[in-house]
Subunit: 186 residues, 4 copies
DNA sequence: GATGAATGAGCCTTCATTCAT
DNA sequence: TATGAATGAAGGCTCATTCAT
């Protein structure tokens, strides 16, 4: 019946379960059962369990990578930074489950080939946002902005209010932090 | 020679390994081997693997609990908040491995009886730091302050500079955020 | 471009891999990958994995079977035996990979329908080479001659010298052994 | 009931099954079932499947190793060689199942850490038995002697006669071969 | 206070094979 | 002539846990 989309379905279910229970605690059996296929079928589409995860990263982080590439061609003005944060916030929102997963499974990611890749991206984002010779506290501010965007949405789950509103509040705080760190060095 | 302190040694090794590799990826065999005892010995001192973790939390988060208890008796002035953050920062620093662990193993903690306990503490801290009717963005600021303190130290690992200096920079940013959120509602 | 010869190519690759790694350790996936076809394609040409092996035997042991048939029509003189050994040695050399495979995968062959077939041939060879009522030691000599021819080439891999020279040395020893066993019973 | 000898029992059953069916075709489940324990119990006593095999080699080839060590201290006379063969034949007989296994599972052994070890031993035996500058055919004779001793017993299974008698016949042929190769170089 | 021995459940992975297209 | 997709069985291995000693 459902033909040709099994690979996609595996990714969907896997992401859902990975985000919900963590990578290690999600077994291939579980994924397979959810899809009503056998474990072996998963192996037709992906070489290993880690491969499923890798494919999710590759598919879902592309917007970020494109954003970074674009940003690297822009001048380091406050306006650019603001634009970067705005777009980053959107990219984050559209891949929320993956980023929830990332945030909650760092110990696992650390030694899952992908860890490095991800850390690199963070550092490149940081470079786009902070001034080259920023004081320590200002570096912290930029880091904090990033951190808040990443973790913010999930932590605000208990707080009342519409998700989009929350996203904007987070964005506002991030922008504040980056602005404070942006006293141009003359 | 090492008499009667096995329990303590188990905790030490366990914390080190949990923090380094994550909870799920650290097996009791590994802990036992590090201590040159048998797995069964661990079971003399702790009822389950989770129990080891619980004991670590109980022993290492007491300063935080005491801090919170004390803080709840104080007036919600900016000075108090500043004092809370200062003490919190110190408490955090003195139990750094545990908090690194917490930060990196959230997916695991979520369904490990302890998760709730920990989340509760975070929310109580938040209540101490934010104004009762704070605007959304100000709530985010306070959350961000907490977040930054928790994650900051580890993320700054790649950055140059003396640890104590970094801690103070983080504290400064946290204080800023909380101050901004503190425009007293009259 | 390679049209219609897939069957042959499968056999070639299979023999190579079987000889190199053993039958059990060579998977159909591996064979298929080497040929840049799918596993399913193998099943178009052969009913089972074992079938591939069987086909190799059938194709490569024909010279031996013909030799045996011819030999059975000859008188049991020493000259005949010498001739048999000479031809056997040549047949062996021209199907070296298969015989390397046989020699190294006996445990596997034992319960692979083919085992019997092969053992039968060995026994028939033995009958051609030894005297009907030979003493135990003389039977051993003939067995040893066969054995040496089979295993000899591979074992001499580490020894210096040109392959053809080695083959002749092996043949010489085999002939010696058979001669010693040939004190005609009157 | 049976206490403390499980390790030994595992080795016994494993050797029996390895020899009978081959290494790859013998599963740990099978071994465990034969012993009426769980697979996991095997892992208490041995780190891996290969480890079981290694332990068998270590325990059963000691006599050979001692023989070789002793032989290396002896003069290279024909008498010594005869003595070496005699003892080797006995050592072989007392570890027959292992050597049957070796002979029939060479493809497997080749890439099982142990392969090298075993090949080394063969080469050292060869060095003890052949003259340093022996002609190619004489080297083949010595190899053939070794080969015959190794494989002889199993191949003679179909032949009538008492096992000990067969062993002696094999030994006789081996001795003959080595003698022929021993025309002392003056 | 600790060990030796074992278990049951489960994990990731691989394999030969099938079948509709 | 082949492929794409899937299966069922099995394999080696690891884990937290138990319990008699």
């Amino acid at each position: 019946m459902t033909r040709g989309n099994t690979r996609q379905r595996i990714q969907d279910v896997a992401l859902e379960l990975f985000a919900e229970q963590g990578y290690e605690k999600t077994s291939l059996r579980e994924i397979a059962e959810n899809l009503e296929v056998t474990k072996a079928a998963l192996y037709y589409h992906f070489k290993t369990k880690e491969d499923i995860l890798i494919s999710l990263f590759q598919d879902l982080t592309r917007p970020m990578d494109e954003l970074i590439e674009w940003a690297q061609t822009q001048p380091h003005t406050l306006e650019t930074k603001q634009e970067i944060l705005r777009r980053y916030s959107e990219a984050l929102a559209s891949a929320a489950p993956l980023f929830r997963f990332i945030q909650e499974n760092q110990a696992t990611l650390r030694d899952l080939s992908i860890g490095e890749t991800f850390k690199d991206r963070m550092l490149r984002m940081l470079d786009l946002i902070k001034e080259p010779e920023a004081a320590l506290a200002d570096q912290v501010r930029c880091l904090s902005a990033l951190l808040t965007m990443h973790a913010g949405m999930f932590l605000l789950k208990d707080v009342e209010g519409d998700p989009e509103e929350k996203r904007l509040a987070v964005l506002e705080v991030a922008f504040d932090l980056v602005s404070q760190a942006h006293h141009v060095t003359r």
